[in-house]
Subunit: 425 residues, 2 copies
């Protein structure tokens, strides 16, 4: 089966946002074994959306549209799809209730949002469509199955499916995961099973070079690299007639990757993040954590707090941006700062030890560095970061040299600190 | 003039890379005042690229293609364009020299690359095209002007331009900046000037309702809404014969927006973020800042630290995730926690005041709430967050009810806290 993506939104054509939805959905289609030949982006313009829809409808079995389901005048996706396939828009009682509940909840606060007439537009569904509830917003999604394709002259005669999803990734992705992925999966007669081998502490091109022979020789299972800031992920996929057989096919390749990457691999579970692995390890070993951050200013701790239940392990965090706070909050010695400077191995070490002492925890992570754009010198250039980790009396320090802008340096620092903690607990 | 983007590359259809080229080029086209109606992504497949090219050629004056100019068998963009517009590929001596020089240079290094037969493919140009040199790689770009449009039956009869650029952003962007942008600019006789009016503290649909009459009545200048998590942005654009006239045309509309949104507007500068505005205000008023974060665990402070030079205002941050840390780090009273709970107006207020006292700062922001997924009760549901702000003896507290997952609740909290601080300093 082939599938086509249509992203609807003038903001995409103006370049105000990057189309990460197309990227996400393309990956998911590849995972499902669906052939994706075209991605199209079109503005909030009825005539042009009609043209695109008719073209896609001719050549594809499944069309996935994102965007244009909001409450404003500009949002025309649902209306336009209905028109192209000759269906009516009809009220959906369930959606109506959900919209009311959504606004009732918000109106108890000082937020002055009210339900405008436009919001009720979102309670209309395309006739005979399946409504997909949106747990993170007011716009539902829809699956429209068109089994009678006489409505368009040039159709191939086979059944078609049109899937409409809201544009914001925070709404679209959960809906896709929960409802659309399983729906598409059951349409396929081949089963695709994939694992994500997640690696950190090694660069992308180095990691790829280590498995070049596997990449070149691949057919089924396949292996594909995905670079993430500071991490490398390899997706390994097998297709077979059932899950068991696919799993059996994956096993030798996964074993080979384990052999080659060893403890650089932090998980093979697609859903699991590095911070989740770290929090899980702390839980398992009954260790508590404190943090002391300088150049990352809370980003590391923010990542830890991302994990539900982090409160069991994280006791305290100190954002010690000034020299004064490094001394009085986490007990860095004045002479250490004078002799070695705030960005030094010595300061990083004292910060970690001091944070653990001040908070009374078993472990602590400390970060000090130069994120840029200013503050670099020839001896201590922008991108120089010391990450340290205290675990029950032992302090380990890692010196890092990162490239890129302020944001990129800080992102890589957070990953490196998570990795250091992971390896030392 | 209207323009259309075609991104060529199977890696985009598989979701292996995010299409940031389309985003960059869209922004540039908007800046140039070119109307961009479609972005299309197609794989390295000749038949499908021919179809797409023919379709685009019918409806657009300018087509910009990225990708598929490399040395491999898969790279077919140049060949396919030449075929569609009935032109030959001819050798280009200048390109030949550059390719040789490029490899000579690399071969002095440890790189073991040699010139393969395929590389010479890159020395062929489309007949009568303008060759754009690539300072960061081997693939040149091309501008093809088609003034005789009899080659395609359905063309509009006007001159067409096809621009071919390499796929890697590190090669494409410098070429666009240096050669393509000036080329396109001289084709235009109108100048476009736009401002971004950034608003927070008011919901998207409410903000739009307030200016529905302006949106409906627009022609030139135009006004377009962009929703961002917790913020609303309106882009206001005027086209005129010169910048001065465009600015003059924008003025009354900007004044009207100022009148309607008042201090909900935090900037009209496209590049400026909310955290930058806050740090700038603190700087101007010579105020120092401390933070105390519970459910956001450092994210608020991380946003402040995002701003280069934040170290002048931010003194200390406390991540007070546990009740114990709320008491001993920022002096929340034990009875306050017992009587009102950790997530309460009272605790938020004491946290802000205590943070300012502990750090010796003029201002402080404190955050306590329930980000979920667990920890909610009927009285204090997930999404309930108290944000408080201390400024020189005064404490202001805002009660918020946010929807969405843990991440979304925390993102909205950070925006709300930045907004609260902005309004109170």
């Amino acid at each position: 089966m082939n599938v086509e993506l249509i992203s609807v939104g003038t903001e995409l054509l103006l370049g105000n946002i990057v189309n990460t939805n197309a990227n996400y959905l393309s990956r998911k289609c590849a995972e499902l074994g669906l052939s994706l030949y075209y991605q199209i982006t079109v503005g909030d313009n009825k005539k042009r959306l009609v043209n695109v829809l008719k073209e896609c409808y001719k050549r594809s079995d499944i069309i996935i549209l994102t965007g244009g389901l909001g409450p404003t005048e500009d949002d025309i996706t649902k209306e336009t799809v209905a028109e192209v396939i000759n269906r009516e828009l009809v009220p959906d009682e369930e959606s109506k209730k959900r919209i009311k509940a959504y606004f009732d909840f918000r109106n108890t606060s000082s937020d002055a949002s009210g339900i405008s007439a436009n919001n009720w537009k979102q309670a209309l569904k395309i006739e005979d469509s399946i409504v997909i509830t949106n747990d993170n917003g007011t716009a539902p999604g829809y699956i429209v199955e068109v089994m009678d394709t006489a409505v368009l002259k040039k159709s191939t005669g086979k059944g078609k499916r049109i899937i409409l999803l809201p544009g914001p990734p925070s709404e679209m992705i959960p809906m896709f995961e929960k409802s659309i992925f399983p729906y598409l999966k059951q349409l396929q007669d081949t089963v695709f099973v994939s694992k994500m081998v997640k690696i950190c502490g090694i660069g992308e091109s180095k990691a790829e070079t280590q498995i070049l022979d596997l990449i070149e020789g691949q057919s089924n299972p396949t292996i594909a690299p995905y670079a993430k800031s500071g991490e490398v992920h390899f997706r390994v996929t097998a297709s077979a007639k059932d899950t068991e057989e696919a799993n059996r096919m994956l096993e030798p390749l996964l074993d080979e990757l384990k052999k080659r990457f060893g403890d650089h691999i932090y998980t093979m579970n697609e859903e699991e993040t590095l911070e989740e692995v770290v929090v899980k390890l702390l839980h398992q070993k009954k260790l508590t954590l404190a943090t002391a951050e300088s150049c990352t200013g809370g980003l590391f701790t923010g990542r830890i707090v991302n994990v539900p239940g982090a409160s069991d392990v994280l006791k305290e965090g100190y954002i010690t941006y000034s020299n004064g706070s490094k001394m009085h909050l986490v007990g860095v010695k004045e002479e250490t700062l004078e002799v070695y400077g705030a960005v030094s191995e010595q300061t990083a070490g004292e910060m970690a030890e001091g944070a653990a002492k001040a908070a009374g925890t078993d472990t602590a992570v400390a970060i000090t560095g130069i994120a840029g754009p200013d503050g670099g010198t020839s001896l201590k250039p922008v991108g120089l970061v010391y990450v340290s980790c205290y675990v029950k009396g032992n302090v380990v320090i890692r010196e890092c040299h990162f490239r890129g802008d302020r944001q990129k340096v800080r992102d890589q620092t957070v990953i490196s600190a998570l990795d250091l903690l992971r390896r030392n607990i």
